[in-house]
């Protein structure tokens, strides 16, 4: 099986996975009583109407009286044509609310991802080059600290320290500042720092252990014998093979933190991004928006995993496609 066929098969598989998850979501939603219907019944009872009749009307209005397979197909078409309904709580279409959230999420996610991908492998390789020195121990200690400290707890502490006591950063997130301004950098510095410490640890460890393997490889001895400078030797001969296994952990790590911690970090710092949107929707009982944000995170996860696999195969020509 060649590369194009492998990529095609992998894309089909990603579609299947997303379909499975969407189906599970549908089953979960269909098996539960819809709060809107309960509400309609209560409303009718309060106004002296017939609750039964109100329930019937509401069901008809929402298309719940149709057979299950019709509703399932409708749901699928809706999901894949991005017709995600109306958000009661925000009074706007769900997709619009999500894209607004994404705008704020991207503002801290992009610098966070770039910094993690730059600093993680660099420090890891540096750590391997100075293995068992105090620099290595310092980096290792930092790595362990980073992934052991809960992001939301770290965020609260830093906010208290720099926002309340030292007054260096604004405590309340301001949505009015321009994206590329010093103000924005100031208010996003701590959230980005918290997320980078959280995600960098695992990447540093993996790149340290992987590059330790190549440090004494024959090609490094040859390079040294030829008189290649250590910097160049590490950059060209150690960094490159290290990046291959690293790419598999990298995306998974970032996604895990993106799905979990960014929600918390947004709540802690008051950033009105996707995570905050999900949280508000949960609290406000806005079913369409809850569903929409679940779906968008799911799609991000599926596409992330797909890209990871494809990048991995492109980077490492030794991989056999049949082995997957």
């Amino acid at each position: 099986m060649g590369l194009p066929r492998y990529v095609a098969a992998r894309i089909v598989w990603a579609a299947v996975v997303s379909l499975v998850i969407v189906t599970i979501t549908f089953v979960l939603m269909a098996a539960a009583p819809n709060p809107a219907i309960q509400e309609a019944a209560t409303q009718a009872a309060l106004e002296g109407g017939d609750p039964q009749e109100a329930v019937e009307r509401e069901r008809e209005l929402r298309g719940l009286d149709e057979p299950l397979h019709v509703r399932y197909l409708d749901f699928l078409t809706g999901v894949y044509t991005l017709e995600w309904g109306w958000s009661e709580h925000r009074s706007q279409p769900v997709t619009e609310a999500l894209s607004e959230g994404l705008y704020y999420t991207a503002q801290y996610s992009v610098p966070w991802t770039i910094l993690t991908m730059l600093i993680g492998p660099l420090v890891g390789v540096y750590s391997a080059a100075n293995m068992y020195s105090w620099k290595d121990h310092l980096a290792t200690g930092f790595a362990f600290f980073g992934y052991a400290i809960p992001n939301f707890f770290f965020g609260i502490i830093l906010l208290l320290l720099f926002g309340v006591w030292l007054d260096w950063i604004p405590v309340v997130y301001n949505t009015d500042v321009a994206v590329f301004s010093l103000e924005n950098v100031r208010q996003l510095a701590i959230p980005v720092f918290v997320l980078v410490t959280g995600s960098i640890g695992a990447i540093m460890r993996v790149s340290r252990n992987e590059s330790a393997e190549f440090r004494n490889a024959d090609f490094m001895k040859t390079a040294k014998a030829k008189g290649v400078s250590p910097l160049r030797a590490y950059a060209y001969h150690v960094m490159r093979p290290t990046l291959v296994p690293l790419s598999t952990t990298l995306v998974g790590q970032l996604l895990a933190i993106f799905l979990g911690s960014s929600l918390l970090v947004e709540v802690v710092f008051g950033i009105p991004g996707l995570g905050r949107l999900t949280f508000d929707a949960l609290v406000a009982q806005d079913t369409n928006l809850v569903l929409g944000s679940t779906l968008i995170f799911t799609f991000i996860a599926v596409i992330g995993n797909l890209l990871e696999d494809i990048v991995f195969t492109v980077l490492d020509p030794r991989i056999s496609y049949d082995d997957r």
Partner: protein, 398 residues
């Protein structure tokens, strides 16, 4: 070695054929016998609780005890029994290997400290609720500072300790201070240890059970079964568990039991993949061929040779999984989306957030405990990797 009183000689050149021949019938080991003997009363108690004890009555009401057990408690005791009979007892039965592991493990000092800390959490979680009463609301005792620390007397309704120079000092009644509602932080942390211990034990048991079964089945069946199971693992691995849990929580509402169920049901993917690749490599080994030649069936080969030989890597992997669960529980409790009745660490962090500026201990104490626990699990996993798996060490030394 001759002085040791173990069942089997520590020599491999002598084979007790009568003993081996005896094991052909499914003779139960001491471990399994003990497990069955202790599980049966537990099941009986569960049936009794389920069938005869009312919804709001305590499980042990008939014998005059207050304790009321929920499904999680039964599950927890069951996992504890498993842990005793299949991990602690075997270590006791094989003192030579235990000493070897301990020697290897001891070389990693942070890991020994970590193990000590985890033991504190475990014992605190197990015995704490028996010794200490549950933290009670007491509005008058709100915002008391920890011992040796003080707070501006204007911030407390009533100072339980002495007041010196307008500052209220902490008392030993509340060693780590109190929350806004007057709940003792120390007691809440001890009760939170119970929850964390329960999460750690139950999830690892479920994950190990599913992961090992799917992994070995996949490796041994091969063909389309293997393909199907591994594709299923792919789905499990790319499943956004936290979000799905939020969705379930939103639709149905969910307590700790649901949390444990959902998270362990979607966490075994990595373990299954790991076990599969490990059993495939173990299956190539010469001793597997040898036992096959001596007439061992597939079940016996898997049960006696493959699973025990993958155990070390499974234990390491599970150790590194646990902190993820603890963190997820804390995150949900922090968002106040979990069971609000549960005195967990995350809940305490969330409760103290609004008073952070003048009463930081409410957030700091549980946060640091959570941090140390996660750190300890990571150190422990690292050390176990070195201690249990001689191959990895050989690789690093090369």
């Amino acid at each position: 070695m001759a002085t040791e009183k173990t069942d089997k000689p520590d020599r491999f050149d002598e084979v007790d054929w009568t003993e081996l021949a005896g094991t052909r019938r499914r003779d139960l080991s001491v471990n399994s016998l003990g497990m069955i003997a202790t599980t049966l009363p537990l099941v009986a108690l569960f049936a009794y609780d389920w069938r005869f004890v009312g919804e709001r009555e305590a499980t042990f009401g008939a014998v005059g005890l207050e304790a009321d057990w929920s499904g999680i408690d039964f599950m927890f005791v069951f996992t504890l029994l498993l842990f005793c009979f299949y991990l602690v007892l075997p270590l006791y039965q094989h003192p030579r290997m235990t000493r070897y592991y301990w020697r290897e493990f001891k070389r990693n000092r942070p890991a020994v400290v970590s193990l000590g800390w985890l033991l504190v959490v475990f014992v605190g979680g197990l015995l704490g609720p028996l010794v200490l009463n549950a933290p009670q609301q007491d509005v008058l005792a709100g915002h008391q500072p920890p011992v040796f620390l003080s707070i501006d007397a204007a911030n407390v309704a009533q100072c339980l300790g002495e007041v010196r120079g307008g500052r209220c000092y902490g008392t030993w009644q509340y060693p780590l201070g109190t929350t806004r509602g007057g709940k003792g932080v120390f007691r809440t942390i001890v009760y939170g240890m119970t929850i964390s211990t329960q999460i750690a034990f139950i999830t690892t048991t479920i994950v190990a059970a599913i992961g090992v079964s799917v992994g070995t089945a996949s490796a041994y069946a091969g063909g389309w079964v293997d393909e199907l199971l591994m594709r299923f693992v792919d789905i499990v691995l790319s499943f956004p568990t936290l979000l799905m849990f939020l969705l379930i929580l939103y639709i149905y509402g969910a307590g700790l039991g649901m949390f444990i169920f959902v998270f362990s049901l979607f966490a075994w993917g990595g373990t299954a993949r790991y076990v599969r690749s490990k059993s495939l490599s173990v299956a190539e080994a010469a001793y597997i061929d040898a036992s096959r030649l001596s007439g061992a069936g597939t079940y016996r080969v898997v049960r006696r040779h493959v699973v025990p030989n993958t155990a070390s890597s499974i234990i390491t992997q599970l150790t590194l999984l646990v902190p993820g669960f603890l963190l997820a529980e804390a995150q949900l409790a922090f968002l106040e989306l979990g069971d609000s009745e549960l005195p967990s660490w995350g809940q305490l962090i969330s409760a103290g957030r609004s008073d952070l500026a003048f009463a930081p201990w409410i957030v700091l104490a549980p946060g640091i405990v959570l941090f140390l626990t996660i750190l300890a699990f990571n150190f422990l996993g690292d050390a176990l990797l070195d201690a249990l798996d001689p191959q990895t060490e050989a690789e690093t030394e090369r």
